[in-house]
Symmetry: D5
């Protein structure tokens, strides 16, 4: 590879896309005939930095426009708790969370944002939007 | 149902769309020939969580562009107070409030937002917009 | 009237549109060939609630793009002070102020916002925009 | 003049457009092939109110997209200091500053905003945008 | 040159475009098939003012939409640290950082903002956006 | 009574001192040999105004230095919830809460503060300190 | 008088100490055997400046430790409203309010603070404490 | 036991006082002849709630006046990380941390404060001070 | 002088103690039999730096417990305005203001604080207290 | 040494007490007969971490009651700049700064506080007070 890449990174995170996490439950949206949005903030997210093995802390925000299903909060919380001992990069958390909530609730639109605590004097925020 | 649904939820909230609430009164808009908006914030909303039976607390915001009628604040406050002992999910509060203010004042446009207090470390905000 | 109206309201405020207020003076815009905006905030507005007879307090904001004339601030302040003993609903203050500043300065565009103090646990903000 | 004007105002400020101020120096933009913006805030602006002779205080903000030249900050500061003893209305400060920075640096786009301190309970902000 | 330029400026900074800085490493974006953004804030940036020789302090923000590569944070921090003893104007920092991150990660879109500390009562913020 | 008292008040609240509330449970303080303090904030307190019958909302804060027992939070929350339908003046809430927590945990020192939401444009905070 | 006094002031305000205001009602303190404090904030105070005839606006705060009586809020609000058309200096408002609440409720201790809005670029706060 | 205790609590936490945690290292205070203080804030503390098994999150603050030794930050961080999977009540975290830092650095004075995130609508802060 | 002094400073400011400023007027304190305090904030203070000749900006705060006289605000404002073209060090402003208000109003106690804007990245606040 | 010390620390910093720094100049206090204080905040302090070789950033605050001499700000700024390339622990910065300002200005009283930026998720503040 001719790029100036940090070699030890790659290969270590490809398994993230297929890693097993607890199922996110949904419940019926009794106002599915209306367009509205639901914003959820989970300020107590923690995972493990795959490079240092030390814990990372972040604030996860999800906003979505439900179709037939709404995300059930208790199972969503348990889903987030499952990251506690997983080694995963910031960029991948956002993408994996988005894929999982879309698979669970098949919403019209969604966005996922994770804002991480300071590391080495640097603050990182990763964001992804989805439209069906 | 093949979805991974939280079974005990559904069925419990369908009655919300037809539940009886106090009437929201209106008064004549003497500037109905002008386009303008009215924003109302009610920071003392409380209802009952249908799963736990414990009280939820939230801040309700309404913004609307009146046509012939304006929402009368005293009756609106009494309308909100009527949720105090009702078991209702966050998502449904917003939708029911929207349907009721539109029926009462037949405004040009409206939005309803409810921001709930922290539960299980999670903060939820539900929003709906309406255009006639 | 088949509407669920708060009867005692109407009729009481129609005179607002023709009530006499002090004149708002203007001065010549020496940069009338340029498009620019002027934002004025008056945080000490007070009027009387027509239902209770008790004083209301609010913050009035005006933004406008002047044409040939600018609003003179001293006369504008006196204009606002004239509401001190007037019984007038929130919705009508915004509309009357807009009509009066447009008549005085014939600006290209304007907006008027009044944010009221808490009453019965409710915060109200009324806004109107104008384009010539 | 049939307008309800504050007579003593006009005539007094027309000279502002031709008043002499210190030159604003510029330096070569070595990234003139890139589009980027520069935002400058000067929180210590003071001039004289032409009606009362008392000092006014304000915060001047400039944002611009440079073409071949950038505004040199030291000369810009001296330019602002020259208003210290000038009697000039809020509206005219913004317009004169815009004309002078455009003449000096011939930028692609610019905006000038001045936010003034409270006078008679009133807060004023004047803004102008420019596109070449 | 007929412009009113601050003569001693030019010539001094043209070398900035070719100055050598440490390489910014990248790692493979395992979600390259998704559109998402990464925001990085580095609040501890310092360089030297080329006019006075005194240190400047600023906050660097980068936001980008990665294509095949993500910026590796540790090497990015070392890249920023290399400015510590470089004499460079505010405007040029932003442009040089943008050129270097685009060369390293060839992202879809990016923006770079540097907000500097007060100098002579003046606060400066420089911003540049990039779309491939 | 020669005082200028609001007659209808008294007599109505004397029963508050003997009203029955749920028991506040305690657990053993395993660091009873150390002096330390515990501060608890419950931002979702609501009771009924005995004059108007309308709900009041407040934020309850308790700080105490435990002796042999600590207040158990779940039972404390249930204790607060029991006020939801009780008609009680602001002043009396603070005093009753203090008497009940002291009876339950026999702490060295304690303070109770309740800050109420705006009523009639007035914000009320009631505070009491206790030392054994 | 050899002092450098603003002559027209004195004489004008001596009547304030004997001016008639609405009675402040009290109600029985059913926890008079406990020491606790009550803090009341009234953010909507307005009176008239005796020099200019223009309205002043302020925030009145009262804190007191009740003995046998508590201040009744509705009558206190009416007492404050009575200042709306009274010409009175800032310094005298605080002193008169203190004398009146002490006469009404004969509390153990009290403090009164009034913070006024900006006038001529100056912000004034007047405070008085009382111990029986 | 005649107290109204939450029975299942006690017995479960007594082992906390003797639980094994990583050693907190110290380094020599080269200014031991001077009195000064060191304040450390660790905003990323997490442990397990012994009742629910769910994670708790808090902010730990330590302030101390060193004698011959200072707390070494890297080992202190590792010490805090060791709580990540420990079931421990809020009250006990503060006491155990205090005992451990005093044993390690034998400082003149110290205080430990832990502020926890919201649980069941309740925010808890536990504090302990120590003087040798 | 054996001290490492910045020689050009001294001698330049000794005249400040005898420099002539406008008189500060007072008015009779009709509540001179009560102890209370008056706090005045003047956020628009400006003077000249004696070293650079450039303007300094600051916020002046005065708090005092009046005896027989109160400071008259209009003359106080004119007194502050007189510093606009005076070359004076930060330290000396506070001392001169204190001497002048004490001479004018012979109050029981007073404090003067001036907080200056950033210069060379440094923020300075000078404070003096006085008790008769 | 029987302590659990981080061995590589000691020995490395003892030279700090005798390291050479630029002289802090002083100027004559023309109000030396008055007691007053001067507070200086320098938000742009940077030094090198002796363990990692990476830069640390902090905010230095000094407050002192001058006797015959005041600290001259320009030389103080140059004194702070001299730490830019010095490897020094947080605890030692505060102590060395205090020793140097006391030697320079022999003030009555002084305090020095340095608040450092986040490192490893930890925020550190070091403080020392001095009385002659």
């Amino acid at each position: 590879m001719e790029k100036n890449t940090a070699g030890s990174y790659e290969g270590r995170q490809n398994h993230i896309r297929s890693l097993s996490f607890p199922a996110i439950e949904v419940f019926e949206n009794i106002y599915a005939d209306k367009e509205y949005s639901i914003h959820i903030e989970f300020p107590e997210f923690t995972a493990i930095c795959p490079k240092t093995g030390l814990p990372d802390f972040g604030i996860v925000s999800i906003e979505y426009f439900p179709d037939k299903w709404c995300l059930e909060l208790k199972s969503l919380k348990e889903y987030f708790l499952a990251y506690r001992n997983v080694g995963i990069f910031h960029e991948n958390v956002v993408n994996r969370v988005m894929d999982d909530i879309v698979a669970a609730a098949q919403m019209h639109k969604a966005s996922v944002v994770v804002k991480y605590g300071t590391r080495g004097g640097i603050v990182t925020t990763v964001s992804r939007s989805y439209t069906r």
